[in-house]
Structures are given as structure tokens and as C-alpha cells.
């Protein structure tokens, strides 16, 4: 196997992994606050179509990103109202969000089916991009890929180096304690949920505007669910989310390359790969219950009733 092919695969894996980076980092922050939002798939879909429409109408990437994030956050807000204000079951509400998102995105996208966008150009960084090996590997991406890395750094710094991050982790651990100390548990959880929604929306925008800039109904194709699994796989740690995202990016694109090697396998079998890999990864990580228990936020998925105090 020659170097350029390896490089090509690695670069493609990073691009394919980037939607997972956005969505899983967002869900990580949401879950750190103790809220389990299973609606990532729905939020990504709505973010994807909203960003797509904005891009198609205005041609502005910035507008596409902002509107896609806003749409994801709006979806998350609905989830927040249900689970935080109205204290509905988080699992059921997350499923509802996904089902609604599938319907809404299909509906909004009717006029755009198979409509193609020009895509997002890679940033050419003088000197850096021209370096051999390093250049294509590290400096050959579009602006959204770079921002996903920036967001990763920001999320890690926030969670582990700031007081607000400490508080967020504390709330996910023991919301009653935080309440007793006078913190607004519900309010802070809202922020975490909205952040998760905006990030999922951004992941969707990246998919529909940059990665495969054609609108196809249901184009997120389970990536939201894979992102949820990634958070478990990463045992709620940002660096491992990042690694897992690129690993899954690699698995996603592997199907295109296996055929390139002249191996005759039905395409459907190859398309199953990421889903089967997700299951395997979940099994491997879930076997070690102790690690899960130590790292998962203790109040994850539990409805918080402030008046029980």
C-alpha cells in the first residue's frame, strides 16, 4: 500500500469523523449535566436541512452554520421544556425528538431533494498546506473541520479548567447537592441541553453542506445514534470522544476503499459496517461496568424534581 493512499484514507477519515466530533461533544456536555438526550439524530437532521436551505438561498457558509445551530438548539429547547420544565421521561422525550426531527426534516427538504450545493472549499494555508505528508494530513481541510478541533479544545478546557465546568460536572453528579448550595440546576441544565442541540445542528450542517453537499431525506443515517454510542465509548471524556469519532470516520469510509481493492462484497454488507462496529464497541466498553459507573454522571437520565427538596 503506498503512502499517498494511506494519507488519502486518513484525511477522508478525519472528514468523515467530523460530524461525530460535533454531535458527540455536544451530547457529552449535555450528559455531563445529567441529561440524556436521545434526540441527537433528530437535531442533526433538522440542523442539516436548515443549514442546507440557508446555504442554498444565501450562499453564505456562516449563515448556514448559524441557522443550522439555531435549529438544533431550537429542537433541544423543545426537549428541555419537556424534560426539565415538565419533567417528562428523558428516554421517551429523546425518541419523540428524533421521530419529530425525521418528519420535520423530510418535510422542509421536499423542495430540495437531490439538490446539490457547491460544497465548502478547503482552506489553503500558505506554506503549511504545501508541506509533504504533514501538509495534506493536517492542513488540507475546510474551515468546519478546523473549528471542530477548536471546539474540542474549548470543551475540554471548559469542563476541566473552569469553575463553570466544575459546577456542570457537579450538577450531573448530584443535582440535589447543587440545589442545596443555591445553584439553579434547571437553568444550567437548559444551557447544557441547548449547547448539545447547537452542536448536533452544526454536525448536521457539516454533513449536508460540506461533507456530502446534496440533500437526501434521512441523510444523517444513524450518525446521531452513533454519536450517542461514542459518548459511552469515550466514557464521557472529550479526548476519547475525539479519537472515537475519527475511528468511526475511518470505518465509515472503509467501505468505499474495500471495493477499491477489488474485493467483491455486496455494497449493503459494507454499509452495515459502522452500525455493527458501534454494537461491538458498545459491548466491549459496557463489559467493564466499573469504568462506566465511575465516569458516567451519577444522575444521568434521572428526572430532577426540584420540589422534592
Amino acid at each position: 500500500m503506498d503512502l499517498s493512499l494511506v494519507l488519502h484514507i486518513m484525511v477522508a477519515a478525519v472528514a468523515a469523523g467530523t460530524p461525530f466530533v460535533f454531535a458527540a461533544l455536544g451530547e457529552l456536555v449535555t450528559e455531563k449535566s445529567g441529561v440524556l438526550n436521545l434526540g441527537v439524530e433528530g437535531m442533526m437532521l433538522v440542523g442539516a436541512i436548515t443549514g442546507f436551505i440557508a446555504m442554498a438561498k444565501s450562499g453564505s457558509l456562516l449563515l448556514a452554520v448559524v441557522s443550522g445551530m439555531a435549529a438544533g438548539a431550537a429542537m433541544a429547547a423543545v426537549f428541555g421544556v419537556l424534560t426539565l420544565t415538565l419533567m417528562a421521561n428523558q428516554v421517551a422525550s429523546g425518541l419523540a425528538l428524533t421521530i419529530f426531527g425525521m418528519g420535520l426534516s423530510a418535510f422542509l427538504g421536499l423542495d430540495y431533494t437531490s439538490f446539490a450545493l457547491p460544497g465548502v472549499a478547503e482552506l489553503h494555508l500558505p506554506l503549511l498546506s504545501d508541506l509533504p505528508v504533514i501538509g495534506p494530513l493536517l492542513f488540507s481541510y475546510d474551515v468546519l473541520v478546523y473549528s471542530s478541533v477548536v471546539l474540542f479544545v474549548a470543551v475540554s478546557w471548559f469542563l476541566y479548567k473552569t469553575r463553570a465546568g466544575l459546577l456542570l460536572r457537579g450538577i450531573g453528579e448530584a443535582p440535589e447537592s447543587a440545589h442545596a448550595l443555591g445553584y439553579n440546576v434547571i437553568g444550567i441544565r437548559y444551557l447544557a441541553v441547548l449547547f448539545g442541540g447547537a452542536m448536533a445542528g452544526l454536525g448536521g450542517v457539516y454533513l449536508s453542506v460540506a461533507y456530502t453537499p446534496v440533500w437526501v431525506e434521512g441523510m444523517v443515517a444513524g450518525r446521531g445514534w452513533v454519536s450517542l454510542a461514542l459518548v459511552v465509548f469515550a466514557t464521557w471524556r472529550p479526548l476519547r470522544v475525539m479519537a472515537g469519532a475519527y475511528l468511526f470516520g475511518g470505518i465509515t469510509i472503509a467501505q468505499f476503499h474495500v471495493q477499491g481493492f477489488g474485493i467483491e462484497i455486496p455494497s449493503q454488507l459494507l454499509s452495515m459496517l459502522p452500525y455493527i462496529a458501534t454494537i461491538i464497541v458498545l459491548v466491549v466498553i459496557s463489559r467493564d461496568q466499573q469504568t462506566i459507573r465511575l465516569n458516567s454522571p451519577a444522575s444521568l437520565g434521572k428526572t430532577y424534581h426540584p420540589e422534592n427538596q
Binding site: 469553575r163 460536572r169 457537579g170 453528579e173 448530584a174 447537592s177 466499573q290 427538596q309
Partner: protein, 525 residues
């Protein structure tokens, strides 16, 4: 800063009222505390003490009433505001974050503390100063309950409080540690800090407090100067009648060995738990054995192993009537005559969303309530009804949701459900936690009656008074080890207290070394 005038009360409450849909938690409560005063708020479980304290600390809002702080009316909007005024609170159920370090925990209650390193230094300083040694870098989940309380206390002390609220602080301490804590509190009071001490333990209040406000059913039923009262007179104010007592007389027959625990070991599943180390003891028919200990010393793990909720690999480590049951699950052990009342009533001993009748089925189904795989709901209702009648459970009907009952009535129902199945062996954990005195007495009497009918009873409790009242023999658990047993008549609270800190023959703290430490004035936790 205004100078504190000794004549102006530190805190004055006027007409504090809090109404919940089902109950009036507090009704027109007035109270006054002077600077440097240790003031008790006395009342039985459910009297409304905690509600009142939470209003002072700004956790919940009063519906009516006024708070005067150093003579000035204040509207305490939230706990941060309360802390800024100089009010600190040590919660009964700690408000700590287990996976964070001591310093991180404390930092979340501080407005500005510089860096975490600065804060850690201050924690070390202040903890030294008050004789409450503490390592700021430790994770809270690795600390014992007593040390966790120390974290809560230090968190308050760091803010130099003018008023410290302590909510039932002694349930996590040995009698010796209680005395040490009292010394710290007296010192604080001497420095001018007022202390609100919430408890239902009369002797503690008599020993520590200057004055007391007594609350019953959400209303003030009296004010007292402790030096002028007796425990009995305080009790009358607290429950409105004499303290009920159990009739203890027991038949003098030698029973058979019913439960035998033989070198039971269980490695804790995670670092939040305690490992059991070679636990051995027996309970005979016709006796009540009490297991004392500070919570978090392995009681949970032992009870899970005994009840069958977490079976153990060594099947012979637990026997019931000579039969090895270590590997059996809870249902299989019940077939052999085990009854069990866990300390968590809702969610373990009973299902919150179900009626009394359905909750009866939970363990009593084996008494003819299932036929060909289908349930006989009529029979279940009759069983629940008998339970309600025999144990004076206050409820509308057996179709009511169990959550609509008070804590005491839920406990009576669950205890009743287990006792009506006439177990050969009954294990009860924290029989009277959060239960009012009337219900507590019924439950204790029921256990004594069961013993008198020849059953073996094991009671796990943190309340030494209770154990001394109803038990024939006592055991102590400390750091996963269980002490030799001792007859109640032949021991004292002092001795049991020492044992609770691990100082018993074969215990986790070597007895000789402990004595040395004690003579040097160190506290062994």
C-alpha cells in the same frame, strides 16, 4: 461592618409559614437566637424542622413570615445569599459531590477563593485550627461518612459564619466523636457564632444546648431553657404525651441457631462500597440481635448479601436453619422463611407507582396469590387489608397509591407485610428512620412480639438508643468487619461506641494501638 450589639438577636423569625398542597409544614413559627447561643430545634420526625431550616438558608421560600438578621429584616433569596449574610448549614443528607475532591467541593460553595491551591492551603489551616484534620486533595467518595460531615462543617467554617445550622448531625458519629464535635461547637459559640442545632435526641440537647424551641405538627409547642428542663419534660412538649415504651418481657427459652454467617467475604464492586472481611455471627430463634455501626461501614453490602439481592459465591457462607443459601436469590431465601425490611422503603421495599394491595403482592405472592400464572387480586386485597388493620396503617383504602402515605405508615405497611408472612428469620434495616414516635413504637413492639413467638430477628440500626431498647445481643460493624457479640446487659454505649470506631477484638483498628492513640488525645475515626 456594624458592631454586633449583644442585645440585638442574631436571628429572629416572625410568623414563618410554609404550606404544601397536602400539609402545612410550618405554621406561624416565631423564634429568637442570640449571638453565641446554642439553640435547639426539637421535634420528632416530620414535625417540620428541616423545612424551617431550609427557609432560613434560602433553599425554599416561605409563604408568609419575616426574618430579621441582626435586627434588620432580610429576604433570603437563595443559599448563596444566606452564606453572604454569614449563615452556614450542615445538611443531614450531605450536599457533597462524590466524584469531586474535597477542595473542589468546598470551592463550589465559595464566592471567591483565588486558585484551588490557595483554597487547599486555607482548608488545611482551618482544619488544623479546629482539630478537624482533612486532606483537601482526597476524593469525597473515598471518605467515611464522619469525614464527609467534617467536609461540610469546614465548608461552613471557611466562611466565618455568624450562624451555623446543624441538621441531625450526630447520626453519623460514634458517642465519642459526638463529644468531640460538641467541643468544637462550644468553641464556635464562645467565639460568638450562634448555632441552631436540630435534633430529636433529647439527651444530646440537654447536654449541649442553652435553649430550645419545640415544634410539633408544624407549630411551636414551647420554648425552653435547657437547664430548667428534664428529658421527660422536653419529650412531653415534643410529642404531647409521655414517651411510649415497649413491653420487653421475653420467654426464657434457648432457641435454635437460625441464621449463621460463616466467614463471609465480599469484595466491594467499586470504590464507593465497602468490602466485607470474614464476617461471622449467628442469630438464634427467639432473640433479637442488633447490628450497630456508623453508616457506610459495610451494612449495605452485608444486607445485600443476607437478603439475597446480591448472592455470594461461597454458598456455605450464609445458612438459614442449617441450609446453605449463599448462592440463592431473594425469592428462594424467602421460601426458606426469610423476611426482610430494607431501609429504602420506596423503590426497594415498595414500588412507588403501585397501590398498597399491589405492593403486598411483592413478597407475599407466594401465599396463594398466584394460580396458574395468574394473580388472584381479591386475595391480595384481603392480605393488604389485614396488614392495614393489624398494624394500624393510616390510609383511605388498600387501592391508594403507597406514595400517598406518610413515611411512618409506609414503614408500618412494609414491616407488617413481612411479619404477617410469619418469617422464621426477619432482618430489618433502620426500622424507625424518619418515622414518628408512635409508629416507631408499634414497629418495635411488633419485632419484640415476633421474637416472643420464636422467630429470629436481626436489626441493623444507627440509633444506639433503639438497639439498647429492643435487642438481646449486640454486634458492631466497622470497615467491613463484624465484632464478637455481646449481651446488652453486659455492655454500655461507651463500649459500643469504641467498637463502632473499629476498636474491638479482631477489629480493623488494633486495640492496643488504639489505646495508645487515645491516650495521646487523637481521635480515631
Amino acid at each position: 461592618m456594624t458592631l454586633t450589639n449583644i442585645n440585638i438577636p442574631r436571628l429572629q423569625l416572625e410568623g414563618m409559614t410554609k404550606i404544601y398542597p397536602a400539609v402545612i409544614a410550618n405554621e406561624s413559627i416565631d423564634m429568637t437566637i442570640a449571638p453565641g447561643e446554642i439553640h435547639a430545634v426539637l421535634g420528632e420526625n416530620g414535625a417540620g424542622k428541616s423545612t424551617l431550616m431550609k427557609m432560613i438558608y434560602g433553599v425554599i421560600k416561605p409563604d408568609r413570615g419575616r426574618i430579621l438578621w441582626n435586627g434588620e429584616p432580610v429576604d433570603i433569596t437563595n443559599p448563596a445569599h444566606a452564606r453572604k449574610l454569614g449563615i452556614g448549614m450542615v445538611f443531614q443528607h450531605f450536599s457533597l459531590f462524590e466524584t469531586l475532591s474535597v477542595a473542589e467541593n468546598i470551592s463550589l460553595a465559595m464566592e471567591d477563593y483565588g486558585s484551588l491551591d490557595d483554597l487547599s492551603r486555607r482548608i488545611s489551616e482551618v482544619s488544623e485550627e479546629y482539630g478537624l484534620p482533612l486532606d483537601p486533595g482526597r476524593m469525597v467518595h473515598s471518605l467515611s461518612v464522619g469525614i464527609r460531615q467534617r467536609v461540610e462543617i469546614l465548608r461552613c467554617l471557611l466562611q466565618q459564619p455568624k450562624l451555623l445550622i446543624m441538621d441531625e448531625p450526630t447520626s453519623v458519629l460514634t458517642p465519642q466523636a459526638v463529644r468531640k464535635m460538641f467541643a468544637t461547637l462550644r468553641r464556635l459559640a464562645a467565639e460568638g457564632c450562634s448555632i441552631l442545632y436540630i435534633s430529636h435526641k433529647l439527651d444530646e440537647i440537654m447536654e449541649l444546648c442553652h435553649s430550645a424551641t419545640i415544634i410539633r405538627g408544624g407549630k411551636v409547642t414551647g420554648y425552653a431553657v435547657c437547664a430548667e428542663e428534664s428529658a421527660a419534660s422536653l419529650a412531653r412538649m415534643m410529642i404531647g404525651r409521655e414517651l411510649p415504651t415497649c413491653s420487653r418481657k421475653r420467654p426464657d427459652v434457648e432457641g435454635q441457631e437460625c441464621l449463621r454467617v460463616n466467614r463471609l467475604c465480599k469484595i466491594a464492586a467499586d470504590q464507593f462500597g465497602t468490602s466485607l472481611e470474614r464476617v461471622s455471627f449467628s442469630v438464634y430463634s427467639g432473640e433479637i440481635v442488633g447490628l450497630a455501626g456508623i453508616s457506610g461501614n459495610g451494612q449495605q453490602e452485608l444486607l445485600y448479601a443476607l437478603s439475597g439481592e446480591r448472592p455470594v459465591a461461597d454458598r456455605g457462607a450464609i445458612t438459614i436453619d442449617g441450609e446453605s443459601v449463599g448462592h440463592l436469590n431473594a425469592a428462594q431465601r424467602r421460601e426458606l422463611g426469610l423476611g426482610f425490611v430494607p431501609e429504602e422503603r420506596l423503590g426497594r421495599g415498595a414500588v412507588p407507582g403501585m397501590s398498597l394491595s399491589d405492593n403486598g403482592i411483592l413478597t407475599a405472592h407466594r401465599h396463594g396469590m398466584v394460580r396458574k400464572g395468574l394473580l388472584d387480586f381479591g386475595r391480595a386485597k384481603r392480605f393488604a387489608q389485614k396488614c392495614v388493620t393489624d398494624f394500624t396503617v393510616k390510609c383511605g383504602s388498600v387501592d391508594d397509591l403507597i406514595t400517598s402515605l406518610s413515611g411512618g405508615n409506609i414503614q408500618k405497611f412494609i414491616t407488617g407485610r413481612e411479619i404477617l408472612q410469619q418469617p422464621k428469620l426477619l432482618i430489618v434495616s433502620q426500622p424507625t428512620w424518619g418515622v414518628d414516635i408512635g409508629a416507631a413504637n408499634i414497629i418495635r413492639q411488633a419485632m419484640i412480639d415476633l421474637r416472643n413467638n420464636g422467630s429470629a430477628v436481626l436489626v441493623v440500626s444507627e440509633e444506639l438508643d433503639e438497639l439498647f431498647e429492643i435487642c438481646d445481643r449486640l454486634l458492631v460493624i466497622a470497615r467491613g468487619r463484624v465484632s464478637p457479640s455481646v449481651k446488652v446487659e453486659k455492655t454500655s454505649k461507651e463500649e459500643i461506641g469504641l467498637w463502632m470506631s473499629g476498636m474491638f477484638p479482631g477489629g480493623p483498628v488494633d486495640t492496643n494501638k488504639a489505646r495508645e492513640l487515645q491516650s495521646e488525645g487523637c481521635c480515631v475515626d
